[in-house]
Amino acid sequence: MTRPGVETGGRGSGDDASRRGRWLVVGPPFLWLGLFFLLPFLIVARMSLSERATARPPYRPAFAWEDGPAGWWDKLGQLSLDNFVSLLDEPLYLDALFTSLRIAATATLILILIGYPIAYAMARAPGRLRPILVTLAILPFWTSFLIRVYAWIGILKPEGLLNAALAAIGVIDEPLQILDTEIAVQIGLVYSYLPFMVLPIYASLEKLDGTLLEAAQDLGCPPWKAFWLVTVPLSMPGVLAGAFLVFIPALGEFVVPDLLGGSETLMIGRTLWSEFFSNRDWPLASAVAIVLLVVILGPMLLWRAVPQRDAEAGR
């Protein structure tokens, strides 16, 4: 995978000119991400400890810039965990968190079950067909997420296309209420995230050495057993990568539950949104963000660990 040439850290890495050259490369993206990605999280953390106020902007800061380090030290003693306490007190928030975890986990499971056969078929397809299939799997990713979710409203609503089709073939008499339920959210999630599951699984299946399967067969192993004992374990990195790519964003998903889930399906991303935009409670919204961040941190660190292990195995 990684060629030895790539690993040597460049020529003469000791001297000043090359070090300056390196920082010209690393510096701009590093500073940008530090300022616009890392620093904002600290501000969210600060905000989550602030009190709500009827002002513009609607909060009283826990640490003000003008206090200086000495002032901040004083204020450490009077930080308010009120926002987190109210998150625990209101069953609404915990419910939203558990609903999100349940929905994201179910969607991930369904995606593995649907995505695996598709990826498997793609990997078995004749060589000249494969690039076309890969392009077909990637294309939806390029079309707007919002549009793809919106398209389902017209299909799922009571007077929509699915109900019309089902009524036409005589399966149902009364239109089914699918839109504004959890089922609609599941459909929307599975639909929007399918390419993210198919592509990593396909990538690991494509690399699979066919002679291993032949060897299993020569040794008298029936095809289903060879599939279960050889193909499935070897494609596990792809399945795991897909699961992380799907589970983490699905947990904080806003668009799908908001457009398809109606008012009943509360997911944590939506709670954050409504605390922020409807209730204008910025500190509480920040506390929700911190909780969500802590919840996804575990899977995220795991996700980072997987490709590294993979790369090391490749070396």
């Binding site: 940008w32 616009f36 399918l194």
Partner: protein, 265 residues
């Protein structure tokens, strides 16, 4: 891995891809529907496109969206390419762990968190919210995707060409500009396209970071979509899909030509 397709494989492919494409096809088809109802086909018509073009709010939003996309994709491509070069070429430098973390985290970070945190940053910096804050937010979101695209190209690229240039006395900058950059150009172009389409699509981050007077097209589409399906929105979506489709065709042509150039050198 090969082995030919069984009937089960063919069925999964057909079902899988119809599931992926049918909703989009239906959406496009019904944008040409004369009738306002989604389930009734009232004949072919471009009436909704006419109404869309008379809707000044939509036109304004589209204009904001395109400008944000062009500016943010360009900045994101420069920063993302630099980050990719840094990740591939410099195996060891201080804070590399932090750097890779910051590059990969935005890929999976829920958008509500990114949006909220950027907004709070803009508020504490006392920046006026509008075009520039959306653009900065989109650069932050999309540069990581550029990095991933460019990085994969850099990893498969023949380093000896660059080393030859350096051995012949080119400065590292010169070697990068005249050898490396032309060779990775297709990936850089694809990264730009990806950044542009991601910016064109984004609803959540734009909603958090926009201010009065800067409403993007997805924000308009969203506020109308909440009220239900309308053929006018279908028409707007169809145009967006068309723009993205043209961008992809152009990107794939660029990649193909790039591959040919790469082969001839």
């Amino acid at each position: 891995m090969t082995g030919g397709l069984t009937r089960f494989n063919i069925v999964s492919l057909v079902l899988g891809f119809s599931f992926l494409y049918l909703p989009i096809v239906l959406l496009v088809a019904f944008s040409f529907n004369e009738s306002r109802l989604v389930t009734v086909w009232g004949g072919f018509s471009t009436r909704w496109y006419g109404e869309l073009f008379r809707n000044q709010q939509m036109i304004d939003a589209a204009w904001v969206t395109v400008r944000v996309g062009l500016v943010s994709a360009t900045v994101a491509t420069v920063l993302g390419t630099l980050a990719a070069v840094a990740l591939v070429r410099f195996q060891r430098f201080r804070a590399r762990m932090l750097f890779t973390g910051m590059v990969y985290a935005p890929l999976v970070m829920p958008e509500v968190i990114t949006g909220l945190s950027l907004l709070l940053l803009f508020v504490s910096l006392d920046m006026d919210r509008g075009f520039w804050t959306i653009t900065i937010a989109h650069v932050t979101l999309t540069m990581c995707f550029v990095t991933v695209v460019v990085q994969s190209r850099l990893l498969t690229f023949d380093r000896s060409l660059e080393e030859a240039a350096l051995d012949l006395g080119a400065t590292p900058l010169r070697a990068f500009l005249s050898v490396t950059l032309p060779l990775i150009a297709p990936a850089v172009a694809a990264g730009w396209m990806l950044a542009f389409t991601l910016s064109l699509d984004d609803l959540v981050i734009a909603s958090f970071t926009s201010g009065p007077g800067a409403t993007t097209l997805p924000m308009r589409i969203y506020s109308q979509a909440r009220l239900g399906v309308s053929p006018e929105i279908n028409a707007a979506c169809t145009i967006l899909i068309g723009v993205v489709a043209i961008a992809i065709v152009m990107a794939s042509l660029a990649t193909k030509r790039g591959l040919l150039v790469g082969r001839s050198t």
